[in-house]
Symmetry: C2
Amino acid sequence: MSTRTNRKVLLNARPDGFPTEADFRLVEAPAPEPAAGEMLVRTIYLSLDPYMRGRMNAGPSYAAPVELGGVMTGGTVGQVVASRHDGFAEGDLVLAGAGWQEYGLSDGRGVRKLDPAAAPISTALGVLGMPGLTAYVGLLEVGGLKDGDVVVVAAASGAVGAVVGQIAKIRGHRVVGVAGAQKKCDYVVDELGFDACVSHRSDTLAGDLKAACPDGVDLYFENVGGKVFDAVLPLLNTFARVPVCGRIASYNATSLPEGPNRVPQLMGLALVRRLTIRGFIVFDHAHLEANFLRDVGGWIRSGALKYREDVVEGLDSAVGAFLGLLRGENFGKLLVRVSDDPTR
Amino acid sequence: MSTRTNRKVLLNARPDGFPTEADFRLVEAPAPEPAAGEMLVRTIYLSLDPYMRGRMNAGPSYAAPVELGGVMTGGTVGQVVASRHDGFAEGDLVLAGAGWQEYGLSDGRGVRKLDPAAAPISTALGVLGMPGLTAYVGLLEVGGLKDGDVVVVAAASGAVGAVVGQIAKIRGHRVVGVAGAQKKCDYVVDELGFDACVSHRSDTLAGDLKAACPDGVDLYFENVGGKVFDAVLPLLNTFARVPVCGRIASYNATSLPEGPNRVPQLMGLALVRRLTIRGFIVFDHAHLEANFLRDVGGWIRSGALKYREDVVEGLDSAVGAFLGLLRGENFGKLLVRVSDDPTR
């Protein structure tokens, strides 16, 4: 019998607007025992990502919502601590989707072994994981990056935006980021090599962005919405593309913004400038994962592409860190170190 | 010296909202004489199209506006009456862009000879011309029609919509039209073979459309905007495509509709349903013209594809007919017979 205690964060209530601590509940229960064909994985890192806000809602979306009282979903990196699965042995380091808990049971589906010699295991949740792949497919496949494009990247210092902008720089493009805090803007320019970065907190956002994009914008990687989208729209050039990856500015809205209704204006601009606005979800593009790992993995090894992680300690910190993420307080890929990383 | 009098319709004032007769001015002047390398073309048919409303505005768009006091632009079919151009002889029937006037001077650029034995010459302005090509590229290239798509077509009895729907039917799709008057809906179903057609004048448009599309909508050919777009949006399936060809419902608006601002809602739907919204202008797709003429020409000759023309008589009728077009009063491709058609 296991003597392990599993702590887990459940969805306690569906948020009305911005989530609060009370929408979550931390509980303890004995860790389960793996049945035949199963394994128990100890969570080392839990990824916190904006999409999780959507899973807290009841409404239909591209993925099923978290059930009330269910464990919050999330990507994890962990270590197998007990296995009755032929493909995995105790000690294996794996990418899994155990959610917000210390131990997860798995039948191996969707689980991938990690080689700590190839890259730090935490990167499987960030630059070499779902956020990195999102950046790669959104920029290259959905956005159809082509020679000469001026690229604007929302949430530029974030897990996705930082990769988008760096790939575009590696490809030789002019890249302008949009971020919040000045330290993020500085990081994006000084460390990641973007050509410029403007703050969405500035009263002069629209003018700042225009000044940074004197030849307009050919590809806007949308991850924010709201006033950032409003500032980019008038700058979009003919044949510009807008891959729509996320809209964090709207995730906690309980009502639509006041009028006028700007949909006719948006559609009119789409027509005269022949814009392509295209929503995408990374899991529709899994066929590009091998190319992504080859390219981005190579750029990381060569030092051409950098990444930054914002690691908080312990499952107790998950809720607060997630609420901070929704406020833009994280700086880099947000991870919770749920238990010790044996590779560090 | 020419003794021909040229009557022409000028842009007299830029409309404030819905155009009026006073925004146009009919004037007479001697027809010009062709210089070396030029020819004079007598207009037989003038095409009237919704895009002309946009050319009456001063603002930037995909094409230069008509100058105040300038001849209204427009596609024409005519006959060469005097030529000092090596490539064209008196008597040649040509597709030209002489605008709203009885005689146009041309240096031959963009002018194409017509063979009246191949198809009625008026069709070069409609089903075998710009509107037909718009339908062809919008549905097949921009919209990326693919097996199993349910297609909804706005302005279904119009010059573009009728071709969109019929091509989709020929390709084996379920096709639902949206039109105004009941006679147009009946025509679209009974004559053109659409599976259904709903009226945008009905108070139950949204419900009617939903009932006609029980499996949702995979491709919406947008030519209207406004409440038709609003009714289609919730029905769009995952990976649906919205080629944006026109937005006639908004062309005469002097202000945006009242709130709330539904842009975040639209972008949210684009994300979760992975929609592609893509504006296009036919002249960006001229490389498809040969395929278009082969395919649609063949379907017309075989009787698989039908067309309807709404012909008004005389340049005096142009302004009134154009205003009627903006109100949806035409029934089929709207043409002005400016002078006798020698082929009929």
